[in-house]
């Protein structure tokens, strides 16, 4: 076994791909699908390099990076988290805003196309999935929107909380919750599109879901991380982001 490990590490060390670089990206789970596509496009131009994507909740990634987790880029659904990291000297350069997310009401079982937040008090809607407002950015905004619509107290008893926005979407997608207040980017993605109906939550009802990414300190000299960061501003990437329903920084919202 040991011999095999030594041989394998020698083979890796002397392989022609020795110059290949590798980055691991921690990304908010609303980017699942969207960032998969962006990374797939990026890999075409960087054959031999490795780009790993890990999805989860933004708050968890922030904590993990503070504790030394080996992530090279951090895409957060709340732009405040990467800003905190930068302030704490755990990131380098600037925080790049990459998009503004949107909340939607999504349902598998009922027609949600004309559904409004005030309809959530209806008796046939038993469970409503939102992300945990305590730490998930989409959850915070969902709570704000429900409060602004004046139905928070009435629907609070129906709420089920997802650990992150992807799990919240799964609660609704499995039909266990009749309605989910989830990210438009997930609804337009390959896993959910066509499986239910949705309506946009007016973004005047909550603070903007401003999102941003940053290069972490450990990747300060990583050329591939820098290349990926630059690629986020390319026309190709912006087109993908728009297709997933993100409003781009510096552009008027399409909705």
């Amino acid at each position: 076994m040991l011999v095999r490990i030594i041989l394998l590490s020698m083979a890796l060390a002397f392989a022609p791909a020795a110059l290949a670089e590798r980055i691991t990206i921690a990304a908010a789970s609303d980017l699942k699908g969207c960032l998969d596509e962006v990374a797939a496009n990026f890999r075409k131009a960087h054959a031999g390099d490795e780009v790993e994507l890990v999805y989860g909740s933004s708050g968890k990634f922030k904590t993990q990076i503070e504790q030394g987790a080996p992530f090279d880029l951090f895409f957060s659904a709340d732009i405040a988290f990467p800003r905190d990291l930068l302030k704490a000297n755990l990131a380098v350069g600037e925080v790049d805003p990459y998009g503004v997310g949107r909340l939607v009401l999504w349902s598998k079982t009922i027609d949600a196309q004309a559904l409004k937040l005030s309809d959530l008090t209806r008796a046939d809607i038993l469970k409503i999935a939102i992300a945990n407002p305590q730490h998930a950015p989409y959850g915070k905004r969902a709570e704000e929107a429900l409060r602004a619509s004046g139905v928070w107290e009435e629907v609070e008893g129906k709420l089920v909380l997802g650990e992150n926005i992807a799990q919240t979407a799964q609660f609704a997608e499995s039909g266990n919750a009749q309605v989910g207040i989830i990210a438009l980017s997930l609804v337009l993605g390959p896993e959910m599109s066509g499986k239910g109906s949705y309506s946009l939550v007016p973004d005047s009802l909550h603070e903007p879901l401003e999102q941003g990414f940053v290069i972490t300190k450990r990747a300060a000299d990583n050329a591939l991380a820098k290349a990926f960061a630059d690629y986020m501003g390319s026309g190709e990437t912006r087109a993908v982001m728009v297709r997933y329903g993100f409003a781009l920084p510096g552009e008027a919202s399409g909705h």
Partner: protein, 231 residues
């Protein structure tokens, strides 16, 4: 800070809910687990080993496997979900009842294995003697087997309670994190860490460490006492 010292109201609510869940699961598993353990301890059937393996599965399966199957099975199109809906009970995911069902499955081996061991250690002799005194099967079980296997019952109950308190993955997948309904202590610790409330996470975690330590010491003492009692 309120009456609970370093614990907030939501901490106390979660602790209480955890205790309620663990106590209910322990009682249910004493009822469900005893006959299964009894059968496993005494049967000559060739199904004994496959069944014992089935009971032990939650020991080795990742909680996510159980969580996934339970979520699908209890969902609107799953067999359990269709049953509960037709009985007018609604759906089990995101309810306390759902957590109870999941925990009973998840903690099954922690009740059955100590019980089975205790029943096997009884041997045939005391029961044969009771039978010659015309004690019926139920009478033999309650007046001979239960008192003699009491260490198994106590160890099984303590381990089941403790293991249910320690549950996390399954709850995260089917619970929906509802305060007072499915937000147990382990999930709340996760929330505290995610929202950077390390002080709160420390207090709750510390409490669980002390609890788990006390459980292991008491089970160890019991096992030793059980051995001396049998000698």
């Amino acid at each position: 800070m309120t009456l609970g010292g370093p614990f907030s109201n939501s901490d106390l609510e979660a602790i209480w809910l955890t205790v309620e869940l663990a106590a209910l699961v322990t009682v249910l598993l004493l009822i469900i687990g005893s006959p299964i353990a009894w059968w496993l301890a005494r049967t000559p059937s060739r199904w004994k080993r496959p069944l014992a393996a089935l009971v032990a599965l939650p020991l080795v399966l990742p909680p996510t496997v159980l969580g996934f199957y339970l979520l699908v099975a209890m969902g609107p199109h799953g067999p359990i979900g269709e049953l509960t809906q037709s009985l007018g009970l609604g759906l089990l995911p995101f309810t306390f009842g759902g957590l109870v069902v999941a925990s009973v499955v998840y903690s099954l081996p922690f009740m059955i294995q100590p019980l089975q061991n205790a029943f096997e250690a009884l041997g045939e002799r005391p029961l044969e003697v009771a039978a010659t005194l015309r004690a019926g099967p139920l009478d033999r079980f309650f007046s001979i087997a239960v008192p003699l296997a009491r260490h198994g019952f106590i160890a099984g109950a303590i381990l089941t309670f403790a293991h249910t308190v320690g549950e996390f993955g399954v709850v995260l997948m089917i619970g929906g994190n509802i305060p007072g309904e499915t937000r147990v202590a382990s999930v709340l610790i996760y929330d505290h860490v995610e929202s950077f409330q390390y002080a709160q996470a420390h207090w709750l975690s510390g409490l669980l460490v002390v609890f788990a330590f006390a459980v292991l010491v008491s089970v160890g003492t019991l096992t030793a006492a059980g051995k001396t009692a049998r000698q």
